[in-house]
Structure formats: C-alpha cells, structure tokens
Amino acid sequence: MARPIDFAPAFGSIDAVGAPTDARDERIEVGVAIVGAGPGGLACAIRLGQLLEEHPDVKERLGEVPIAVLEKGKQPGSHLLSGAVVNPRPLRQLFKGRLTMADIPTYGDVPGEAVYLMSRRSAVRIPPPPTMRNHGNVIVSISVLGRFLAEQAEASGAVVLSETAAVKLLVEHGRVVGVRTGDRGRGREGEQLSTFEPGSDVVAGLTVLAEGTQGYLTGAAMEGFGLQGENPQIWALGVKEVWRVPDPLRRIVHTMGWPLRKSASYGEFGGSFIYPLGDELVTVGFVAGLEAKDVEFSVHDVLQEFKTHRLIWKILRGGERVAWGAKTITEGGFYSFPRRFNAPGLLLVGEGAGLVNVPRLKGVHYAIESGRLAAEAAFRSLQRGEVPSRVGALDAYDESLRQSPMWNELYEVRNMRQAFDRGFFVGGALASMMTVTKGRMPNGRFLTHPNSAAPLMKTGRASRYPKPDGTYIFDKLSSVFASGNRTRDDQPNHLKVTTRVRRPVAEAWEWMCPAHVYEVGRDLGNGMVSVEITPSNCVQCGAITAKGGRLTPPEGGSGPEYTLT
C-alpha cells in the first residue's frame, strides 16, 4: 500500500543550520532575536520590553536594537489563523498593571456554548465534555490579536520586521548565535533578478523560536541539538471561513461526527467550530487529523460538505463569505514535546514546541504564557550577568514551564488524542476514562505515528463533496484568492517534495492541499506519476510537511494576507 512517507524528500537539519556567512561588519546585531510575530513571539517581546524598561542597565547591554521580531508575512497577522476561543488569563497577566481586557481587541466573552454530535440529517445536542467547557473564555480573531500585540511590542521597544523570513539557524561552536533571513528577488531557477536583495545574518545573544505549527527552524534545532520528544509530532489541518451574516450568532458551537467517518480504518478524527465574531461575523472551521487514509480526503471540501447541513445553513444563510484560510495544528501533545525547550542561546516557545491542548482546542494562551515565561527566564539570566549561550543558562525556562498550570493540563490529556486512533467510539470511551481520572488511566504512553506513514486507500469519498457554486460552496482556487494570497509567481519553489511518486500519493497530496498546489501530472509508467506544483497558490498551511514533504519559508511577504482569521 502506498504511503507518503516512502517518498519523503531528503531534507535534514543540515539545510537549515549553519554558521554566519556575512562579513562581521555586515551582520545585523540585535539583543534578542524572536522568530515569529504570533502570540508567543509577541508576548515574549512585550514582556521582555517591559522588563528592560524597568532595568535600563540590562537594556543597555543589548545594544541599539534590544529586541527584534522577525515575521515572514506581509505584516503581523497575515499568517495567523485559528478559531479562536482563548483563555484570557495569560493575556491579563502579560498586561497586568498596564492594560485591561477592555483594551485588548476581542469579540467578547463566550456567550454560551453548545456541542453537537452530527449525522447527515440530524444534530444531537450533547452536554459539553469537561474538556470543552469555555465559560470565562473570550472569542478572538488571532489575526486581529496579532496586529494588536505587534503594536504593543513596538510600543514596548521591540522592532518588528515584516516580510522577513528566517531561513537558517546560525550556530557556532554548539551555540545558537542568531538567524539568517531569506533572500528576496530570486527567479524561478534561483537566479538573481534585478531586484535581488540577499538575506542577512541577524546575530543575537539569544534567539527565541516562536514559529508556530510548522516550526521550520524549530525542527532543525530539535534535530541539531537532539531535542526530539518521545513521540513523533503529528498534525491536523484546519480550514475556516469567515462570514458576514444577517442574524447574530449568540453562542459558540462545536461539533463531532459527520461528515467524518467513525471507523478507525478511515483515520478521520476531528470536528468543527462555529464562533460568532461580534454581531456581524461568524467563523466556521473544520479541523481533521492528517492521518486520514482516504486519498480523496480534503479538509476544505469536508468543510464545504459540512456547510450543507441544516444546522450550519441556518447560521450562514443570507450571508456572504468574507475570508478563508487554512493552517495546520500540532496534535502530538505532551509526549511529542521536545526533551528540553532550550539549548545554548535558544528558547522554544508556543505551538512550534508543541504546546497545544488538543482536547480543549487551546493553544493561543499557552503560546502567550510560554512567551512570557521565556522573556522572564531570558531577562533573569541577563540580569545575572549570564551569557545565554552557556549550557544550562536557560534551564530556568524549562523549570518555569513545568511549574506552570499549563504543564499539568497538558500532562492530563497526554494520551487523549492518540486514543482516537482507535476510532470514534473506542477513542471516545478511552477519552472519557482519561477525563474522569484526570489522565491517570489508562496509564502508559500511547504512541503517535507520523501522519505520512498512514497507508492510503480509496473509497470514493470525493463523491460526497458538494459542487462549488461560488456563493455558498467554494472551490479551492477562489478560496486562495479570498485569503489575499498574491505570492509572486516567478520565485523559487519553496516546497520540498519528491515529484515522482506512486499515483495514490500524488492523489492524496492533490486532495489534501487546501490551496490546490499539487496536481497529479503525467503517467510515468509502473504506477508512478509526476507531480505538478503551483507554489504561488501556497498559503503555507504546512499540511505537506505532515504528509511526506517539507514546507520551507518562501520569500518574505509571500503567502496569505489574513486579516480576520
């Protein structure tokens, strides 16, 4: 049986790790380099800025640019996508004494919630499982929040560099000394165009990787420093839309079941979320694990199929789609954490380090919390006169993570996601047991298997997908357009994928990708086909990384321009 993992391209940390190559006076020196202007990276920048403000002597030691945040999107928020219902505690903590929740752009407290078990014709309301109770949480658009946090980071003294991709982790003598930014202005074959602008070595005493779900440099760092966790990381793909609706939605909704199939043999695990964003907007999204085995499994199309259910129709009817986006979510949980969240000169923050609570669908507040803790650990080590690159200098960060409530929360659900490998019912039963016993039973470590190792099958699933009509059901290309993606066409292909594969693998990629980047190409005989790639469609969701390829950062500024996701 064909498996994507059999066609994984040769790619190792060696491609993304190396020594600085710019002449010394060409290098850009900053105090702390943070990769990723998401909630984790920005919380780190904000907290660090606050501490440096209170301790000018420490700040002085960090030079002219104490904190730099590198963001590959057009601006902060352009590549941020989530539900999202967020636990506000870490936000309050971050801005304690300075701002209140009223100052932070959210769509208000969760007004009420409902969980449904879906079938094709019905939706049975079930009491929210304990892991899904959201009382006291707030609804946000992470893209909007990202823009706000970026402004706060700049007010706090950080420099936010947009359209700047970090493509290499700079390591010298076993220590992380910064990151190298990507070139701009290369043509399709890698040739230098008239506008060619080479990347730069950004050298810093401390580097914080807050890259989010795909952690390009995080992955390289984990490999390079031997930090991989016990279980391999696994991912789910989420595809969502934002709709302007005539009638406000007054509660958050989560669903399980249809259109996903319950038997373990299909490997379809996930569910949907429907959240109001104020009175005028609603966001609906579908999340499914990437171990789904049917070659025709497409989360985008499953979302379209999902919208045909009466429950959703009643919410969206008469409305207009105003945004679309897709992004992966790390699902490995506790046992997929890196062995350590630090290395000499390096800190790992947020989802890139696997800090996501899948059963609770929560990760944003962990990112913020870990960002804050990273800033404090970094500051304390600087204050002590430490050099962050000394081995063990940053162990305090790991310690603070272990002491924080999030650690325990993640430990309790450490096997819950893996349980669903057994299918919906067995998984559900196991999950209930874990909930009741707060994770003590069943004991042991449930394994995860790389998404790309799942053998592929064909069951005619595509026949269930509704046909696009351009007003309620949308095809992928018009959705890519709605994401604001205007990636420059003639740049090098940033997707590392084997382009001669067994047919089922190519088909799986064609269906999996929400942006229609991959297509089955020519027949090459012996059951092999070529793969046609349109990299400029790519919204950098990262699904290909989970399924046998590797997403690498394209030219800075490429990709979607999310504003409401």
């Binding site: 850009i28 930014t181 730069s200 604001g484 504003t563």
Partner: protein
Amino acid sequence: MKIAVCVKHVPDATVHKRIDPGTKRLVRSGESALNPTDLNAVEEALRIKEAQGGEVVLVSLGPVKAIDSLRKALAMGADRAVVVSDEAAAGSDLLGTSRALAAALEREAADLVLFGQASSDGDGAVLWAAVADRLRRPVISQVASLTFEGGEVHGKRQTEHGYDVISAPLPAVVAVSDAINEPRYPSLKGIMGAKTKPQETLSLADLGVPPSEAGEAAAKTTVLELGAPSSRGDQIRIEDDGSAAQKILDLVLERRLL
C-alpha cells in the same frame, strides 16, 4: 537634487474591498499599503539620488495611519516623510487633494516632483497634471525612462502613437509609468532604520489651506448612487458542430468588434 515623491496610502488591494453604502466612499479600514505604482516613483527617485546625490522626501495626503505605509518607502531609502493629515481633508476630490499637495510641495521647494502613474483604488488617475497647474511648472506624464541634462529633465513619454521625448527645465513634475523600473526590496538595515527617519505631520492650517477648500464640503464632484454592474446581458452558448467558427465571426461582426 531634492526630489519629492507624492505617494498615496490605499487600502491593501487584497483586503475585501467594499464601498460603504452610507458614505458612498471606499471603506479604508483594514490593512493598508502604499499604492503599488508609487513604488516605481520612489525607486526612480532613489536611483536619481544615488546617481546625483540629494534628498528624497515622501509627500502624502491621508490619515495619520498613512505614516505606517510610508515606512516601506522609507525602508527602501527615502530620507523623510511629510504627511498632510487633517480631518477636514477627508473626502477630498481631485481639487482638494491637488490643492493640499501643491501647498505641501511648495513648502518643500523640490527640484523634481514624482508621481506614480496609476492608483490601485482608481482614485487619482490624473493628480499630477492638476498639481503641476497649481505649481505653475511643466509636467511630463507616462514616463518610461528619465534622464537629466543640464538643468533639464528628459522624459521618454509613452503615448498611443509611440514615444515622445519631452524636455523640461527644473523644477518639473513627472509622472512615471510602471515600465520605468522594478522597485527594490528594502534591505533589513533599511527596514530597521525606517522608524528613526524624520516624519512630519502637517495640518491644512500649517499649509495655509483653509478647510473650506478641502474635504468633502469643497468637492465639486459627488457620488450619487451605487449599483450592480450593468449585467453582461444574456449569454450565448454554442456547441460546436463544425459551424462554431462561423457563428463566432458572425457575432463579432454583428457587435462591430472588428
């Protein structure tokens, strides 16, 4: 040489654009960027500065937010930015805009004033000619290449009938087309340095422009109504049975498209 580049802050083309049914004006919230063809003008100014020395000043009329979108041009290498920002100027038409810009440009007394040729929000197709008239200086538009000789600027102007080479003594107003150059990417150093470059905000009063001569109240054009685009009319479907080519030709001739 002192070069003033007039740049416009427009809502990012990728953000879902719509016209507010109440004010009948383009909704300008959401992320914003510099008008793409203005980048060609900025690039040209930078090349001239690199060749001859001098200063590149960005001049813009818009909300205070506009300063954010000017950062990219500052990161590319412009030296400073001047933004005319005044509530009273909101809703200005060509007349109000050109009046405010001309006042700001007079204050700068640049040798060369550059514009980008087109605006992605369709709002300023012809600003340069109006500004040039107010400044009482020569204007060359549609310029695909620019050179200098003595105290004169020579522009290769692209028209429907080929290229004219126009000469004008400085100070002059020039509108460049997007064929003139490929705008550079800002370097990382440039991006980091942009924030510290001088950015000045002026009100209409600072320029001596009375509020009665700008803004919606002073506009001499009005938007009356929004409507759906005239529908394309009924679609004609042809299934080819060998005669499709003839049918196409007949339709093309009927509609006088040849």
